[in-house]
Amino acid sequence: MATTTIHSGQERVNYLNVRTSVASWLLTLDHKRIGILYLLGITFFFFLGSLAAAAIRLELSTPKGDLLSSDTYNKMFTIHGVLMIFFFLIPSIPAAFGNFVLPMMIGARDVAFPRLNLLSWYFFMIGGVLATIALLKGGIDTGWTFYTPYSSAFAKGEVSLAIVGVFLVGFSSIFTGINFLVTVHKMRAPGMTWFRLPLFVWAIYATSLIQVLGTPVVAITLLLVAVERSLGIGIFDPNRGGDPILFQHLFWFYSHPAVYIMILPAMGVISEVIATFSRRRVFGYHFVAFSSLAIAIIGFLVWGHHMFSTGQSIYAGLVFSFLTFLVAIPSAIKTFNWMATIWKGRVHWDAPMIYALGFLGLFVIGGLTGLHLASLATNVHLTDTYFVVAHFHYVMVGGAIMGYLAALHYWWPKMTGKMYPQSWAKLAALLVFVGFNLTFFPQFILGYMGMPRRYHSYPEEWWALNLLSSAGASVLALGYLLPAIYLVWSLKYGTAAGKNPWGARGLEWELVDTLPSPHNFERTPIVTRPAYDYAHPEEPTAIYPAPRPVFAGGGKDG
């Protein structure tokens, strides 16, 4: 079937039509197809996690715990947290878009280890299915943090099964990290030096470092919890000489850097989108590149700020507080450089740019409120309140999901060959921005007034702000629903996207066809210009070398 279309000359061979059977998808080694598989998987888990969020906001729209019992409520926020963090946010941008565009950006035919890449998708899916089974089969109520000794000694339900699911997705993340590290090191086309790399590649590289160095620690820690549940070994059980705070140390050693696994790739996307739609090289390229690495490194030194009020020594707290403030520096470097890029750029107000601007607004609020939590004195007042909930949603939803949506809208034409309706996309971006602020800004105020997180009922005087938050959540839901509709619509009815619909620089736009061919490039390209060379529109970023004559005999001496 496929071969006839190739030979008839009607349709160019691309990564979608080259083979079309189900098996060709499930056994594919093509990084682009694996990216699409991830995209489908994470969309599914995002949908499930959103349902749980809807249940939470519905319950909280009245002060009494009338819709969900406290047990069910606990299960709902656990489902929401586990699915959104481990099965949506962590794989989202690196596994879906990193897979799709990173090899193209550096001029490679594929990632370094295509089979490992496919294996990591299977680990992700099997882990996701196991966790979903655990969450549906009676559910678990430990919260996504699995804090001991509750999770290890008291919690009923399928905690161990959920842990196995998270363990598997952890290794999926490690494999993806190893793959991208090696790909960036060894698969760059000739001429693609480190400082010609697009900043998205730098961001994914920094993310991969965290994935490889952090994830194994949480894997072994959760494994210990599962063993403790089945054998009662007592490593985290104070009744048997164990120490529950040790669990928190080990858990946050990964799970704090994991926040940067979520936000760094989004920052990479924002660098791409802002450069493209400002038609200008990212201001302070080197600073933005190194700030990604700085965030990855400092991110490993701040885990103790999750334990300011759980019995950590005050001196450790001081050091962790200081180190946490340091993270603000590379984050601010990025933000100011993006703004400097837009300033004096020729800004084009296309949909991905609207999402990127939304990212900037939300990320700045999320980042600055992080400082309130980083300082010891205010942390004591704000810990375990809705202030914390609002803060990390501003970073992880306002930041990471805005970046994810920007990426989706930016590379959608390249992935599908179709354009979506711009006005609808801009409306959706606006709805997400407004809905998000309506949902989560009131939670800052609630948290400041002392409303604790993880309760299904609250006093009457907090009703108005909670109602506002729930109303905002429905606007936000509409903002997420719209892209699902118009993007799917565009697959059939969208206008054909040209090779470079945004007028962007970069190998994936200049050389790779829309609907890329299976090997991305005709031949291995030679990179001649740095990334974002908008100042020299006549110079291509990369060229194809002249085809070499093939000599019989294969001698290569001379």
Binding site: A108, R109, D110, V111, A112, F113, P114, L116, I174, G177, I178, N179, L181, V182, H185, K186, M187, P190, G191, V212, L213, G214, T215, P216, V217, A219, I220, T221, L224, V227, L231, G232, I233, G234, I235, N239, R240, G241, G242, D243, L246, L250, F253, H519, R523, T524, I526, T528, I543, P545, A546, R548, G554, K556
Partner: protein
């Protein structure tokens, strides 16, 4: 690199190497990618075991006397034998890698089989050690009992207090803390044993391939899988080199 140089480089690169993956330009690039990938995997393994080592260090510091008492029940001769066996297996592995690089398939097969042999001896010893712990109720599950630890160390128990010389500990707490030691012992050596087992399976696959290469007299077989397995194998050895003194040898003072 200038455009001219790059063109020359690309054209020269792709010649007849049957095991060159289609995503790569040159065999050097492929081999480098394997090597970096394997090292990254080993770094990941270090952190995987690192969580356990850190936890063990903390509890050993906290419950020094109990941990020392419990560690006396481990058999140093068995541990020494296993250390020796693993070190020899590392040597035969290194010889197998060397033979693979030289395309001497028969020699490679021989040394791979020797490595499997020593690895298996290690596992058999581990089996004997584990079953002796089982007979003494030292498996850290619900039926765990510290009796063997007390008996082995000739500790006195009076009024429900265990006399550790420097201090007295209630029997119940003594049980919990020595149980912690055996929890770490079984999880750490168990995880290490699992790595040895995985290694044996990979070595067996490599041995079959070496045998086929030998029979078909393949002139340029890909030696990288053997070299990478060698890296992995040496890493597994090093983990044991740390486990052995930490669990078997280190005393209290």
């Amino acid at each position: 690199m200038s455009v001219k140089e790059a063109e020359l480089h690309l054209g020269e690169a792709r010649h007849e190497v049957p095991h060159l993956g289609e995503q790569y330009e040159t065999i050097e690039q492929q081999n480098d990618a394997y090597t970096i990938g394997m090292w990254a995997f080993i770094v990941q393994e270090v952190l995987f075991f690192g969580g356990l080592f850190a936890s063990y260090a903390i509890y050993r510091f906290k419950y020094l006397y109990e941990f020392v008492a419990a560690h006396h029940t481990l058999s140093v001769p068995f541990g020494t034998l296993n250390t020796f066996v693993l070190l020899v297996s590392s040597y035969t592995m290194a010889r197998a890698v060397r033979a693979a690089m030289q395309q001497k398939h028969h020699k490679q097969l021989k040394y791979l089989l020797w490595t499997i042999f020593f690895a298996s001896i290690f596992m058999v010893n581990k089996y004997f050690e584990y079953s002796s712990k089982y007979h003494h109720n030292l498996i850290p599950n619900q039926s765990y009992s510290a009796e063997e630890v007390i008996h082995h160390n000739h500790l006195k128990v009076e009024n429900g207090m265990v006399d550790l010389g420097a201090r007295k500990v209630p029997l119940e707490e003594f049980e919990g803390r020595t149980k912690l030691f055996f929890s770490f012992y079984f999880i750490m050596t168990g995880l290490h044993g699992l790595h040895v087992l995985v290694g044996i399976i990979i070595l067996a696959i490599l041995a079959v391939r070496a045998g086929m290469d030998w029979k078909r007299k393949v002139p340029h077989a890909d030696y990288m899988p053997v070299e990478m397995t060698g890296l992995y194998w040496h890493f597994v050895d090093i983990v044991w080199i740390f486990l052995f003194p930490l669990l078997y040898l280190m005393g209290g003072q």
